[in-house]
Chain length 109, copies 5
Protein backbone atom coordinates (compact mmCIF):
# COMPACT_ATOMS: atom_id res chain seq x y z
CA UNK A 1 0.00 0.00 0.00
CA UNK A 2 3.09 2.04 0.31
CA UNK A 3 4.16 5.42 1.45
CA UNK A 4 2.26 7.45 4.03
CA UNK A 5 2.96 10.99 5.14
CA UNK A 6 1.33 14.01 6.72
CA UNK A 7 2.41 17.46 7.74
CA UNK A 8 1.26 18.21 11.29
CA UNK A 9 0.92 21.99 11.42
CA UNK A 10 0.96 24.03 14.64
CA UNK A 11 -2.39 24.91 16.18
CA UNK A 12 -4.36 22.03 14.74
CA UNK A 13 -5.10 18.46 15.81
CA UNK A 14 -4.87 15.71 13.19
CA UNK A 15 -6.94 12.60 13.91
CA UNK A 16 -5.58 9.42 12.35
CA UNK A 17 -7.97 7.81 9.90
CA UNK A 18 -7.22 5.05 7.46
CA UNK A 19 -9.65 5.78 4.60
CA UNK A 20 -11.72 2.69 5.42
CA UNK A 21 -8.91 0.33 4.53
CA UNK A 22 -8.19 -2.22 7.26
CA UNK A 23 -4.53 -2.42 8.03
CA UNK A 24 -1.60 -1.19 9.99
CA UNK A 25 0.11 2.17 9.75
CA UNK A 26 3.83 2.28 10.52
CA UNK A 27 4.99 5.78 11.43
CA UNK A 28 8.74 5.73 11.14
CA UNK A 29 10.14 9.25 10.92
CA UNK A 30 9.49 12.80 12.10
CA UNK A 31 11.11 15.82 10.47
CA UNK A 32 10.88 19.49 11.29
CA UNK A 33 9.20 21.67 8.67
CA UNK A 34 10.44 24.99 7.38
CA UNK A 35 9.21 28.27 8.76
CA UNK A 36 10.01 30.37 11.79
CA UNK A 37 13.71 30.90 12.31
CA UNK A 38 13.24 30.62 16.06
CA UNK A 39 15.39 28.10 17.88
CA UNK A 40 12.41 26.94 19.89
CA UNK A 41 11.87 23.20 20.17
CA UNK A 42 8.90 21.56 18.44
CA UNK A 43 7.27 18.63 20.16
CA UNK A 44 5.04 16.08 18.47
CA UNK A 45 2.36 14.71 20.73
CA UNK A 46 -0.20 11.93 20.47
CA UNK A 47 -3.69 12.24 21.93
CA UNK A 48 -5.71 9.20 22.97
CA UNK A 49 -9.21 9.99 24.22
CA UNK A 50 -9.20 12.34 27.17
CA UNK A 51 -5.86 11.22 28.60
CA UNK A 52 -2.93 13.63 28.84
CA UNK A 53 -1.11 13.68 25.52
CA UNK A 54 2.14 11.74 25.22
CA UNK A 55 5.20 13.37 23.67
CA UNK A 56 6.46 11.32 20.71
CA UNK A 57 9.54 13.37 19.90
CA UNK A 58 11.15 16.73 20.45
CA UNK A 59 12.98 18.34 17.53
CA UNK A 60 15.52 21.15 17.90
CA UNK A 61 16.10 23.59 15.01
CA UNK A 62 19.70 23.54 13.74
CA UNK A 63 20.57 20.70 16.11
CA UNK A 64 18.33 17.69 15.65
CA UNK A 65 15.72 18.24 12.98
CA UNK A 66 14.76 14.65 12.29
CA UNK A 67 14.36 11.47 14.26
CA UNK A 68 13.30 7.89 13.65
CA UNK A 69 10.09 6.61 15.22
CA UNK A 70 8.66 3.13 15.33
CA UNK A 71 4.94 3.35 15.96
CA UNK A 72 2.18 1.10 14.70
CA UNK A 73 -1.47 2.08 14.49
CA UNK A 74 -4.48 -0.09 13.63
CA UNK A 75 -7.28 1.24 11.43
CA UNK A 76 -9.55 1.52 14.46
CA UNK A 77 -7.13 3.30 16.77
CA UNK A 78 -8.55 6.60 17.92
CA UNK A 79 -5.49 8.77 18.10
CA UNK A 80 -4.62 12.28 16.99
CA UNK A 81 -1.40 14.18 16.49
CA UNK A 82 -0.52 17.77 17.28
CA UNK A 83 2.55 19.96 17.62
CA UNK A 84 3.76 22.19 20.46
CA UNK A 85 5.96 24.90 18.95
CA UNK A 86 6.15 27.27 16.00
CA UNK A 87 6.86 24.87 13.11
CA UNK A 88 5.27 21.90 11.39
CA UNK A 89 6.46 18.36 11.90
CA UNK A 90 6.32 16.04 8.89
CA UNK A 91 5.50 12.43 9.70
CA UNK A 92 6.30 9.64 7.29
CA UNK A 93 5.99 5.89 7.14
CA UNK A 94 4.02 3.26 5.31
CA UNK A 95 0.66 1.54 5.43
CA UNK A 96 0.26 -2.23 5.16
CA UNK A 97 -3.25 -3.44 4.25
CA UNK A 98 -4.65 -6.44 6.07
CA UNK A 99 -4.11 -9.26 3.57
CA UNK A 100 -1.24 -10.51 5.77
CA UNK A 101 -3.72 -11.11 8.59
CA UNK A 102 -5.54 -13.57 6.38
CA UNK A 103 -2.55 -15.83 5.70
CA UNK A 104 -3.92 -18.86 7.53
CA UNK A 105 -7.54 -18.12 6.61
CA UNK A 106 -6.74 -19.80 3.31
CA UNK A 107 -7.14 -23.08 5.16
CA UNK A 108 -10.73 -22.27 6.00
CA UNK A 109 -11.87 -21.64 2.45
CA UNK B 1 -4.23 -2.93 20.13
CA UNK B 2 -2.38 0.13 19.17
CA UNK B 3 -0.69 3.04 20.78
CA UNK B 4 0.84 2.90 24.24
CA UNK B 5 2.38 5.76 26.19
CA UNK B 6 3.21 6.89 29.69
CA UNK B 7 4.85 9.90 31.27
CA UNK B 8 7.50 8.80 33.76
CA UNK B 9 7.71 11.65 36.28
CA UNK B 10 10.70 12.28 38.54
CA UNK B 11 10.56 10.84 42.03
CA UNK B 12 8.18 7.99 41.33
CA UNK B 13 8.53 4.40 40.15
CA UNK B 14 6.15 3.13 37.47
CA UNK B 15 5.62 -0.63 37.41
CA UNK B 16 4.65 -2.03 34.02
CA UNK B 17 1.27 -3.71 33.99
CA UNK B 18 -0.73 -4.77 31.00
CA UNK B 19 -4.32 -4.46 32.25
CA UNK B 20 -4.77 -8.24 32.24
CA UNK B 21 -4.41 -8.48 28.49
CA UNK B 22 -1.86 -11.06 27.40
CA UNK B 23 0.53 -9.67 24.86
CA UNK B 24 3.71 -7.87 24.10
CA UNK B 25 4.52 -4.24 24.72
CA UNK B 26 6.94 -2.58 22.33
CA UNK B 27 8.51 0.54 23.82
CA UNK B 28 10.01 2.43 20.92
CA UNK B 29 10.70 6.05 21.88
CA UNK B 30 11.67 8.21 24.84
CA UNK B 31 11.19 11.99 24.85
CA UNK B 32 12.05 14.59 27.45
CA UNK B 33 9.09 16.34 29.03
CA UNK B 34 8.75 20.06 29.62
CA UNK B 35 9.63 21.66 32.95
CA UNK B 36 12.80 22.78 34.59
CA UNK B 37 15.02 24.88 32.36
CA UNK B 38 18.07 23.20 33.85
CA UNK B 39 20.53 21.64 31.42
CA UNK B 40 20.84 18.58 33.62
CA UNK B 41 20.58 15.20 31.93
CA UNK B 42 17.57 12.97 32.56
CA UNK B 43 18.14 9.25 32.64
CA UNK B 44 15.44 6.63 32.21
CA UNK B 45 16.09 3.46 34.17
CA UNK B 46 14.49 0.05 34.32
CA UNK B 47 14.18 -1.89 37.58
CA UNK B 48 13.96 -5.69 37.64
CA UNK B 49 13.46 -7.15 41.12
CA UNK B 50 16.25 -6.20 43.50
CA UNK B 51 18.99 -5.92 40.87
CA UNK B 52 20.73 -2.61 40.20
CA UNK B 53 18.64 -0.60 37.77
CA UNK B 54 19.77 -0.49 34.13
CA UNK B 55 19.93 2.84 32.30
CA UNK B 56 17.76 2.75 29.16
CA UNK B 57 18.62 6.19 27.81
CA UNK B 58 20.07 9.53 28.77
CA UNK B 59 18.46 12.68 27.37
CA UNK B 60 20.16 16.08 27.29
CA UNK B 61 18.03 19.27 27.29
CA UNK B 62 18.58 21.41 24.19
CA UNK B 63 20.90 18.79 22.69
CA UNK B 64 19.25 15.39 22.42
CA UNK B 65 15.71 15.41 23.74
CA UNK B 66 14.41 12.26 22.11
CA UNK B 67 15.76 8.84 21.22
CA UNK B 68 14.48 5.62 19.69
CA UNK B 69 14.30 2.51 21.84
CA UNK B 70 13.48 -1.05 20.90
CA UNK B 71 12.33 -2.91 23.98
CA UNK B 72 9.79 -5.69 24.27
CA UNK B 73 7.97 -6.62 27.46
CA UNK B 74 5.65 -9.58 28.11
CA UNK B 75 2.51 -9.17 30.19
CA UNK B 76 4.12 -11.03 33.06
CA UNK B 77 7.42 -9.15 33.12
CA UNK B 78 7.99 -7.55 36.49
CA UNK B 79 9.73 -4.34 35.58
CA UNK B 80 9.38 -0.74 36.60
CA UNK B 81 10.57 2.55 35.16
CA UNK B 82 11.91 5.64 36.89
CA UNK B 83 13.80 8.81 36.02
CA UNK B 84 17.01 10.29 37.42
CA UNK B 85 16.90 14.06 36.87
CA UNK B 86 14.52 17.01 37.09
CA UNK B 87 12.14 16.36 34.17
CA UNK B 88 9.69 13.73 33.01
CA UNK B 89 10.46 11.29 30.24
CA UNK B 90 7.57 10.31 27.96
CA UNK B 91 7.68 6.72 26.73
CA UNK B 92 5.74 5.63 23.69
CA UNK B 93 5.22 2.51 21.65
CA UNK B 94 2.48 -0.01 20.95
CA UNK B 95 0.92 -3.09 22.47
CA UNK B 96 0.23 -6.25 20.47
CA UNK B 97 -2.29 -8.64 22.04
CA UNK B 98 -1.57 -12.34 21.94
CA UNK B 99 -3.75 -13.50 19.05
CA UNK B 100 -0.56 -13.94 17.01
CA UNK B 101 0.61 -16.57 19.51
CA UNK B 102 -2.50 -18.56 18.70
CA UNK B 103 -1.80 -18.85 14.98
CA UNK B 104 -1.16 -22.57 15.05
CA UNK B 105 -3.79 -23.21 17.73
CA UNK B 106 -6.33 -23.06 14.91
CA UNK B 107 -5.18 -26.54 14.02
CA UNK B 108 -6.24 -27.83 17.41
CA UNK B 109 -9.82 -26.62 17.22
CA UNK C 1 18.16 -9.14 -4.04
CA UNK C 2 20.45 -7.11 -1.95
CA UNK C 3 21.79 -3.63 -1.69
CA UNK C 4 20.01 -0.61 -3.12
CA UNK C 5 21.28 2.95 -3.26
CA UNK C 6 20.84 6.22 -5.12
CA UNK C 7 22.29 9.68 -4.92
CA UNK C 8 19.52 12.28 -4.94
CA UNK C 9 21.13 15.39 -6.40
CA UNK C 10 19.80 18.93 -5.91
CA UNK C 11 17.54 20.33 -8.63
CA UNK C 12 16.24 17.00 -9.95
CA UNK C 13 13.35 14.70 -9.09
CA UNK C 14 14.02 10.96 -8.89
CA UNK C 15 11.00 8.73 -9.47
CA UNK C 16 11.22 5.34 -7.80
CA UNK C 17 11.13 2.44 -10.22
CA UNK C 18 11.91 -1.16 -9.51
CA UNK C 19 13.26 -2.40 -12.86
CA UNK C 20 10.15 -4.54 -13.43
CA UNK C 21 10.95 -6.81 -10.50
CA UNK C 22 8.02 -7.24 -8.11
CA UNK C 23 9.05 -6.70 -4.55
CA UNK C 24 9.57 -4.37 -1.69
CA UNK C 25 12.20 -1.68 -1.34
CA UNK C 26 13.42 -0.89 2.16
CA UNK C 27 15.03 2.54 2.38
CA UNK C 28 16.97 2.57 5.61
CA UNK C 29 19.52 5.39 5.63
CA UNK C 30 20.09 8.91 4.33
CA UNK C 31 23.54 10.50 4.23
CA UNK C 32 24.64 13.94 3.14
CA UNK C 33 26.84 14.06 0.06
CA UNK C 34 30.02 16.07 -0.36
CA UNK C 35 30.05 19.47 -2.01
CA UNK C 36 29.22 22.97 -0.92
CA UNK C 37 30.84 23.97 2.37
CA UNK C 38 27.73 25.89 3.30
CA UNK C 39 26.14 25.05 6.65
CA UNK C 40 22.70 25.08 5.07
CA UNK C 41 20.40 22.19 5.89
CA UNK C 42 19.48 19.67 3.18
CA UNK C 43 16.01 18.19 3.28
CA UNK C 44 14.96 14.99 1.55
CA UNK C 45 11.36 15.04 0.40
CA UNK C 46 9.01 12.47 -1.06
CA UNK C 47 6.45 13.34 -3.74
CA UNK C 48 3.24 11.36 -4.18
CA UNK C 49 1.08 12.50 -7.08
CA UNK C 50 0.07 16.12 -6.83
CA UNK C 51 0.04 16.28 -3.03
CA UNK C 52 2.43 18.55 -1.13
CA UNK C 53 5.73 16.77 -0.69
CA UNK C 54 6.49 15.24 2.69
CA UNK C 55 9.87 15.85 4.34
CA UNK C 56 11.61 12.56 5.08
CA UNK C 57 14.65 13.93 6.87
CA UNK C 58 16.67 17.07 7.41
CA UNK C 59 20.46 16.80 7.50
CA UNK C 60 22.75 19.47 8.97
CA UNK C 61 26.36 19.78 7.72
CA UNK C 62 28.94 19.23 10.46
CA UNK C 63 26.21 18.37 12.97
CA UNK C 64 24.01 15.53 11.79
CA UNK C 65 25.04 14.23 8.39
CA UNK C 66 23.32 10.87 8.45
CA UNK C 67 20.11 9.42 9.79
CA UNK C 68 18.32 6.10 9.79
CA UNK C 69 15.04 5.78 7.91
CA UNK C 70 12.57 2.93 7.80
CA UNK C 71 10.48 3.23 4.67
CA UNK C 72 9.00 0.49 2.52
CA UNK C 73 7.95 0.91 -1.07
CA UNK C 74 6.10 -1.54 -3.32
CA UNK C 75 7.06 -1.93 -6.97
CA UNK C 76 3.94 -0.09 -8.05
CA UNK C 77 4.23 2.87 -5.68
CA UNK C 78 4.36 6.11 -7.61
CA UNK C 79 6.71 8.17 -5.53
CA UNK C 80 9.66 10.42 -6.27
CA UNK C 81 12.47 11.88 -4.20
CA UNK C 82 14.07 15.30 -4.32
CA UNK C 83 16.33 17.48 -2.19
CA UNK C 84 15.91 21.02 -0.87
CA UNK C 85 19.38 22.47 -0.30
CA UNK C 86 22.81 22.66 -1.91
CA UNK C 87 24.08 19.08 -1.50
CA UNK C 88 23.14 15.57 -2.55
CA UNK C 89 21.57 13.09 -0.19
CA UNK C 90 22.57 9.44 -0.62
CA UNK C 91 19.82 6.95 0.10
CA UNK C 92 20.57 3.33 0.87
CA UNK C 93 18.70 0.18 1.76
CA UNK C 94 17.83 -3.14 0.22
CA UNK C 95 15.32 -4.68 -2.15
CA UNK C 96 13.48 -7.92 -1.40
CA UNK C 97 11.92 -9.65 -4.41
CA UNK C 98 8.45 -11.13 -4.06
CA UNK C 99 9.22 -14.82 -3.57
CA UNK C 100 8.37 -14.38 0.12
CA UNK C 101 4.81 -13.48 -0.86
CA UNK C 102 4.47 -16.90 -2.42
CA UNK C 103 5.32 -18.91 0.69
CA UNK C 104 1.88 -20.41 1.10
CA UNK C 105 1.30 -20.70 -2.64
CA UNK C 106 3.22 -23.97 -2.40
CA UNK C 107 0.02 -25.48 -1.04
CA UNK C 108 -1.81 -24.64 -4.25
CA UNK C 109 0.58 -26.46 -6.54
CA UNK D 1 11.35 -13.88 28.43
CA UNK D 2 11.53 -10.18 28.61
CA UNK D 3 13.94 -7.51 29.60
CA UNK D 4 17.70 -7.96 29.59
CA UNK D 5 20.32 -5.51 30.80
CA UNK D 6 23.88 -5.30 32.06
CA UNK D 7 26.23 -2.58 33.15
CA UNK D 8 29.59 -2.97 31.42
CA UNK D 9 32.10 -1.36 33.78
CA UNK D 10 35.54 -0.10 32.74
CA UNK D 11 38.45 -2.46 33.20
CA UNK D 12 36.51 -5.71 33.05
CA UNK D 13 35.42 -8.06 30.28
CA UNK D 14 31.86 -9.39 30.37
CA UNK D 15 31.32 -12.70 28.54
CA UNK D 16 27.79 -13.21 27.27
CA UNK D 17 26.07 -16.23 28.76
CA UNK D 18 22.43 -17.11 28.58
CA UNK D 19 21.88 -19.00 31.83
CA UNK D 20 21.41 -22.30 29.97
CA UNK D 21 18.25 -21.12 28.28
CA UNK D 22 18.30 -21.61 24.51
CA UNK D 23 17.25 -18.48 22.70
CA UNK D 24 18.18 -15.22 21.14
CA UNK D 25 19.36 -12.07 22.87
CA UNK D 26 18.49 -8.76 21.24
CA UNK D 27 20.75 -5.95 22.42
CA UNK D 28 19.00 -2.76 21.42
CA UNK D 29 20.41 0.20 23.36
CA UNK D 30 23.62 1.49 24.93
CA UNK D 31 23.65 4.29 27.49
CA UNK D 32 26.52 5.99 29.27
CA UNK D 33 26.66 5.45 33.01
CA UNK D 34 27.27 8.09 35.64
CA UNK D 35 30.70 8.77 37.04
CA UNK D 36 33.71 10.71 35.94
CA UNK D 37 32.92 14.23 34.78
CA UNK D 38 35.55 13.91 32.06
CA UNK D 39 34.47 14.62 28.52
CA UNK D 40 36.33 11.58 27.28
CA UNK D 41 34.48 9.26 24.91
CA UNK D 42 33.51 5.78 26.03
CA UNK D 43 33.60 3.01 23.47
CA UNK D 44 31.78 -0.30 23.77
CA UNK D 45 33.60 -3.16 22.11
CA UNK D 46 32.77 -6.76 21.34
CA UNK D 47 35.36 -9.53 21.56
CA UNK D 48 35.08 -12.73 19.53
CA UNK D 49 37.82 -15.28 20.23
CA UNK D 50 41.27 -13.88 19.54
CA UNK D 51 40.25 -11.47 16.80
CA UNK D 52 40.70 -7.72 17.24
CA UNK D 53 37.69 -6.35 19.10
CA UNK D 54 35.02 -4.54 17.09
CA UNK D 55 33.70 -1.19 18.29
CA UNK D 56 29.92 -1.32 18.75
CA UNK D 57 29.35 2.32 19.66
CA UNK D 58 31.09 5.43 20.89
CA UNK D 59 29.32 7.63 23.42
CA UNK D 60 30.25 11.25 24.14
CA UNK D 61 29.47 12.78 27.55
CA UNK D 62 27.13 15.78 27.34
CA UNK D 63 26.72 15.26 23.59
CA UNK D 64 25.50 11.80 22.73
CA UNK D 65 25.01 9.65 25.78
CA UNK D 66 22.76 6.98 24.34
CA UNK D 67 22.38 5.17 21.05
CA UNK D 68 20.22 2.43 19.59
CA UNK D 69 21.84 -0.88 18.65
CA UNK D 70 20.40 -3.85 16.85
CA UNK D 71 22.44 -6.92 17.66
CA UNK D 72 21.32 -10.52 18.01
CA UNK D 73 23.22 -13.19 19.89
CA UNK D 74 22.54 -16.93 20.08
CA UNK D 75 22.94 -18.82 23.35
CA UNK D 76 26.09 -20.45 22.06
CA UNK D 77 27.80 -17.31 20.75
CA UNK D 78 31.14 -16.82 22.42
CA UNK D 79 31.36 -13.08 22.71
CA UNK D 80 32.34 -10.66 25.43
CA UNK D 81 31.85 -6.95 25.98
CA UNK D 82 34.20 -4.34 27.39
CA UNK D 83 34.53 -0.57 27.56
CA UNK D 84 37.35 1.76 26.56
CA UNK D 85 37.05 4.91 28.67
CA UNK D 86 36.34 6.08 32.20
CA UNK D 87 32.62 5.32 32.56
CA UNK D 88 30.28 2.35 32.42
CA UNK D 89 28.02 1.64 29.47
CA UNK D 90 24.61 0.16 30.25
CA UNK D 91 23.33 -2.29 27.65
CA UNK D 92 19.67 -3.15 27.39
CA UNK D 93 17.43 -5.30 25.24
CA UNK D 94 15.37 -8.44 25.53
CA UNK D 95 15.78 -12.20 25.42
CA UNK D 96 13.49 -14.45 23.40
CA UNK D 97 13.54 -18.13 24.39
CA UNK D 98 13.53 -20.74 21.67
CA UNK D 99 9.89 -21.82 21.65
CA UNK D 100 9.53 -19.91 18.40
CA UNK D 101 12.02 -22.30 16.80
CA UNK D 102 9.68 -25.13 17.69
CA UNK D 103 6.65 -23.72 15.90
CA UNK D 104 6.56 -26.42 13.29
CA UNK D 105 7.66 -29.14 15.72
CA UNK D 106 4.02 -29.26 16.81
CA UNK D 107 3.37 -31.21 13.64
CA UNK D 108 5.71 -33.96 14.77
CA UNK D 109 3.99 -34.62 18.09
CA UNK E 1 25.17 -17.68 13.45
CA UNK E 2 25.70 -14.67 15.57
CA UNK E 3 27.86 -11.64 15.71
CA UNK E 4 29.57 -10.15 12.67
CA UNK E 5 32.01 -7.27 12.61
CA UNK E 6 34.80 -5.74 10.52
CA UNK E 7 37.03 -2.73 10.77
CA UNK E 8 37.04 -0.81 7.49
CA UNK E 9 40.39 0.95 7.40
CA UNK E 10 41.16 4.00 5.26
CA UNK E 11 42.78 3.40 1.88
CA UNK E 12 41.52 -0.14 1.34
CA UNK E 13 38.41 -1.69 -0.17
CA UNK E 14 36.73 -4.56 1.69
CA UNK E 15 34.65 -6.90 -0.46
CA UNK E 16 31.83 -8.64 1.38
CA UNK E 17 32.14 -12.41 1.40
CA UNK E 18 30.22 -14.87 3.49
CA UNK E 19 32.70 -17.71 3.93
CA UNK E 20 30.62 -19.99 1.68
CA UNK E 21 27.72 -20.07 4.13
CA UNK E 22 24.39 -19.23 2.51
CA UNK E 23 22.53 -16.64 4.48
CA UNK E 24 21.82 -13.05 5.17
CA UNK E 25 24.10 -10.48 6.74
CA UNK E 26 22.48 -7.72 8.77
CA UNK E 27 24.77 -4.71 9.16
CA UNK E 28 23.30 -2.66 11.96
CA UNK E 29 25.86 -0.21 13.32
CA UNK E 30 28.82 1.91 12.25
CA UNK E 31 31.29 3.37 14.76
CA UNK E 32 34.30 5.59 14.24
CA UNK E 33 37.65 4.03 15.09
CA UNK E 34 40.42 5.63 17.11
CA UNK E 35 43.33 7.42 15.48
CA UNK E 36 43.87 10.83 14.00
CA UNK E 37 42.69 13.65 16.25
CA UNK E 38 41.51 15.56 13.20
CA UNK E 39 37.91 16.73 13.21
CA UNK E 40 37.49 15.60 9.62
CA UNK E 41 34.37 13.60 8.80
CA UNK E 42 34.69 9.91 7.87
CA UNK E 43 32.28 8.55 5.31
CA UNK E 44 31.48 4.87 4.82
CA UNK E 45 30.66 3.99 1.24
CA UNK E 46 29.37 0.92 -0.52
CA UNK E 47 30.58 -0.11 -3.98
CA UNK E 48 28.43 -2.18 -6.33
CA UNK E 49 30.13 -3.10 -9.60
CA UNK E 50 31.24 -0.06 -11.54
CA UNK E 51 28.51 2.27 -10.33
CA UNK E 52 29.36 5.37 -8.31
CA UNK E 53 29.70 4.40 -4.67
CA UNK E 54 26.80 5.19 -2.33
CA UNK E 55 27.48 6.86 1.02
CA UNK E 56 26.12 4.74 3.87
CA UNK E 57 26.89 7.11 6.72
CA UNK E 58 29.00 10.09 7.69
CA UNK E 59 30.56 10.18 11.15
CA UNK E 60 31.86 13.35 12.81
CA UNK E 61 34.62 13.10 15.46
CA UNK E 62 33.54 14.43 18.87
CA UNK E 63 30.00 15.01 17.58
CA UNK E 64 28.44 11.89 16.16
CA UNK E 65 30.78 8.93 16.31
CA UNK E 66 28.28 6.12 15.90
CA UNK E 67 25.07 5.53 13.98
CA UNK E 68 22.60 2.72 13.47
CA UNK E 69 22.30 1.14 10.03
CA UNK E 70 19.83 -1.40 8.74
CA UNK E 71 21.29 -3.11 5.72
CA UNK E 72 20.84 -6.68 4.56
CA UNK E 73 23.19 -8.51 2.25
CA UNK E 74 22.78 -11.94 0.61
CA UNK E 75 25.72 -14.31 0.33
CA UNK E 76 25.95 -13.64 -3.39
CA UNK E 77 25.81 -9.86 -3.25
CA UNK E 78 28.87 -8.36 -4.84
CA UNK E 79 29.49 -5.33 -2.71
CA UNK E 80 32.50 -3.75 -1.09
CA UNK E 81 33.01 -1.18 1.64
CA UNK E 82 35.53 1.64 1.91
CA UNK E 83 36.09 4.79 3.94
CA UNK E 84 36.66 8.40 2.89
CA UNK E 85 38.60 10.13 5.67
CA UNK E 86 41.47 9.56 8.10
CA UNK E 87 39.99 6.99 10.50
CA UNK E 88 38.60 3.48 10.44
CA UNK E 89 34.90 2.75 10.66
CA UNK E 90 33.89 -0.38 12.57
CA UNK E 91 30.84 -2.16 11.19
CA UNK E 92 28.85 -4.58 13.29
CA UNK E 93 25.78 -6.74 12.95
CA UNK E 94 24.86 -10.38 12.71
CA UNK E 95 24.67 -13.19 10.17
CA UNK E 96 21.67 -15.48 9.85
CA UNK E 97 22.30 -18.75 7.99
CA UNK E 98 19.70 -19.97 5.54
CA UNK E 99 17.93 -22.65 7.59
CA UNK E 100 15.02 -20.23 8.01
CA UNK E 101 14.46 -20.39 4.26
CA UNK E 102 13.77 -24.07 4.62
CA UNK E 103 10.94 -23.77 7.15
CA UNK E 104 8.28 -25.07 4.81
CA UNK E 105 10.59 -27.63 3.21
CA UNK E 106 9.78 -29.83 6.19
CA UNK E 107 6.48 -30.55 4.46
CA UNK E 108 8.32 -32.08 1.53
CA UNK E 109 10.21 -34.65 3.57
Amino acid sequence: MGFWGIEVKPGKTYPYHSDNVEGKLHVTQATLGLGSSSAERCILQCHVGHKSPIFLCSLLPDKNETCPLSLEFQSDDLVAFSVIGPRSIHLSGYFVANEGDGVLDDYDS
